[in-house]
Symmetry: C2
Subunit: 346 residues, 2 copies
C-alpha cells in the first residue's frame, strides 16, 4: 500500500504537504493540491490508521462494550442484532468503525477485564477510541456510571448515566406501558396483572410505574399480588402466570414487561386450558419478531430497535465533535394491537 512518503516523492513535495492536502486542504496551493490528489488517487493511497491514531490520539473507531459472557443474564436480548445494525450503519456514515471489545472472557488479560471501569478507560486510551457505546448486560450500571465520569465520550443504552460527555438512550418505557395497560382497561378489564423484569432494571422499573399510572388514571385499586417479578426471559413468564392463575381471584389480563415473557405466559395459559385472549388477555413489550408469529399474534409495545443504534451513533458523534454532553434520547414506544389482547375479537 502506498505511503505518504511515496506520494510525496512522486509529486516532488514533502510528506508534510501530502498530509496537509488531506487534513487542511485549504492551506495548500491549489496546483500542488490537485497534483497530490491525483497521484494519491492513482495509487489508491489511504493514510495508515495506526500511524494516524498514534499521532493524533484519535482513531476512527468507537468501542462497543457488550459482555457476551454466557453466565451473564442479559447478553442475548433478541433485538440486539437490529440495534447493532442501526449502530454500525449510522457510524459508517461518519466513517467510523465499531470495535467490539473483548470482554471478561479474555483469558490473557484477567487483570484488564472489562468488568471494571478502569478496564474501559484503559481500552479507550490504548486504542485511542473516539468513545464507547455501552450495552448493559445486567449489572454493569455502576461501572458504566463510573466510566461516564471519566470524561470520555460515551452513550449507554437503557441505563441512565451522567458525565461531562456522557448520555444515554432509552425508550419511553413508562409511557408505553401506560398506553398498553390503558388499552386493556379500555377493553373492560380491571383485574390486570403485570410481570416485571428484574427489579432494579431501569426499563423494567419504568414499565412498572407506567402500569401503576394507568391503573391510577382509571381509579383501579392496585394489588400487590398482581405484580410478579420475572427476568425478561420466557420461562419466568410461564412461572409468573402459573402463580397468577393460582390466586383466589386470578387476573383477566396480563401485561408482561417483555415479549419473551409474554410468550411464556401464553404457553402457561394454554397449558392451563385457557384461551387467549378470551380467558386471559395478554400484552407484551418489545415487538420482537416472534410477537407477530405466535398464535394468537401478540399485542405489544414496539421499541424502535435500529433507532437505538442510530440515536446512539448520533449522540456519540455529536459529543466527539462538540465536546459537551448531549441530552438523553427517549424513543417513542408504541402500542401495536394484534390478537392477544382481545381488541380484535367480537
Amino acid at each position: 500500500m502506498a505511503t505518504g512518503r511515496e506520494i510525496a516523492q512522486l509529486c516532488g513535495v514533502s510528506v508534510a504537504t501530502v498530509s496537509r492536502v488531506f487534513n487542511q486542504p485549504e492551506t495548500v496551493n491549489e496546483d500542488t493540491r490537485e497534483r497530490v490528489l491525483r497521484v494519491a488517487k492513482e495509487l489508491d493511497y489511504r493514510p495508515n490508521e495506526s500511524a494516524r491514531a498514534l499521532s493524533t490520539k484519535q482513531s476512527t473507531m468507537i468501542g462497543l462494550v457488550w459482555d457476551t459472557d454466557h453466565r451473564r443474564p442479559g447478553w442475548r436480548h433478541p433485538y440486539l442484532q437490529d440495534l447493532l445494525i442501526g449502530l454500525k450503519s449510522a457510524l459508517s456514515a461518519h466513517g467510523y468503525h465499531l470495535l467490539m471489545l473483548a470482554t471478561s472472557g479474555d483469558a490473557r488479560e484477567v487483570g484488564a477485564s472489562l468488568a471494571d471501569p478502569v478496564g474501559y478507560v484503559n481500552m479507550t486510551r490504548r486504542h485511542h477510541l473516539g468513545g464507547l457505546v455501552l450495552i448493559d448486560s445486567g449489572s454493569d450500571a455502576e461501572a458504566f456510571e463510573s466510566f461516564a465520569q471519566s470524561g470520555f465520550p460515551c452513550v449507554a443504552l437503557d441505563v441512565a448515566v451522567d458525565g461531562p460527555r456522557a448520555t444515554y438512550v432509552t425508550s419511553d418505557n413508562s409511557g408505553g406501558a401506560r398506553e398498553a395497560v390503558a388499552h386493556l382497561l379500555g377493553l373492560g378489564h380491571s383485574r390486570i396483572a403485570t410481570i416485571t423484569g428484574p427489579p432494579g432494571n431501569q426499563p423494567s422499573d419504568a414499565r412498572l410505574s407506567g402500569y401503576r399510572a394507568a391503573l391510577r388514571d382509571a381509579g383501579v385499586e392496585p394489588r400487590a399480588d398482581y405484580v410478579v417479578a420475572g427476568d425478561f426471559y420466557r420461562a419466568s413468564g410461564t412461572a409468573a402466570v402459573q402463580r397468577l392463575l393460582a390466586l383466589d381471584e386470578p387476573p383477566t389480563a396480563v401485561f408482561a414487561s417483555s415479549d419473551e415473557m409474554a410468550v411464556g405466559a401464553l404457553l402457561a395459559a394454554r397449558a392451563a386450558g385457557l384461551r387467549v385472549p378470551r380467558d386471559l388477555a395478554l400484552v407484551g413489550f418489545d415487538d420482537i419478531e416472534i410477537a407477530s408469529v405466535v398464535d394468537p399474534a401478540l399485542t405489544t409495545v414496539a421499541q424502535d430497535k435500529p433507532g437505538f443504534g442510530v440515536a446512539a451513533a448520533k449522540a456519540i458523534m455529536a459529543m466527539i465533535t462538540g465536546g459537551g454532553r448531549e441530552e438523553p434520547v427517549v424513543l417513542p414506544a408504541k402500542l401495536v394491537v394484534r390478537d392477544s389482547c382481545g381488541a380484535r375479537q367480537g
Copy 2:
C-alpha cells in the same frame, strides 16, 4: 495512562528493556524483569495499541465484513446475532477484538467502498488487521474469493473461498436436507416439494442437492414442478406454497430451505384452510428461535450458530499463528423433530 517510558524511568532501565519484558521475557534478567513487572502492574501499564500496531504491523483486531446496507438481501438473517456472539467470545479468548468495518454506506469514502476486494485489502492494511471474517450478504462471493487470493488470513462464512491463508465454514447443508427429506419419506410421503433459497446461493444449492439425493435414495421420481425458488425470507415461502397448492397434484409435504420460508409456508397453508401437519407436512432449516414457538412447532434442521463463530475464530487464529491455510469446517446439521412434520401425531 502510563507509558513505557515512565515505567523505564521508575525502574532505572531503558524503554527497550521494558518492551522486552513483555515481548521476550526470557531474554531479560529475572530481577529487573520482576521489578518492571511490579511497577507496570502498579501503574496498570498496557502498551499502546496504535504504537504497537504501527511498529509490528500487526494489531490485535480481526475485521468483520458484514454489509448491513438495507438494500442488500442477506443482511439480517435471524441467526447472525448468535454467530456474532460465538465469534466475539472465541476471539476474546485469544485477546483479539472484532472490528466491524464500515461498509458501502460510508459516504465519506465512496472510493474506498468495501464493495470491492481492493477495499478489503486496504482496510486490512490500514488497520494492520490480523485477518478478515467475511459474511456473505448475497452477492459478495467473487469479492470474497478475490480477497482470499490476496494472502491475508480470512475465513468466509457459508461461501467457499480458497487462498494461501483462506478457508471457510459452513453447515452440512446437503446432509441435513437429505436427512430432513428422508424423514418425510419415512413418514410415508412421496409427493414432497421443496422451496429453495436464491439460486446460486451455496447453502441453498447444497440443500437442494440433499433433497434430490434423498428422493433418489428412495427411488422417488423427482418432479420439476415440486421445486420452487424462494429467497430465504418469509413472503417467498408463502408465495411458493400458494403455487404448489395450485398444482393438479399438490404435494403432501414441503421441505423449506429456511425456517423463515417454512413459517411463510405455514401461513399460506393455514390461509388455504389446510391443517399442518395433517394436510401438509412441513420441515424447515436453521432452527431459529421462531421455529419452536410457532404453532405447530416447526420440525427443522438445526444449524450450530454460535459454532459458526467459534469455528471461524479458531480458523483465523490458526492461520495468523501458523501461516498456512486451514481445512474448511463443515458443521453438523441435525434434524430436530417437532410437530409440523407429523411424526408426533397418531
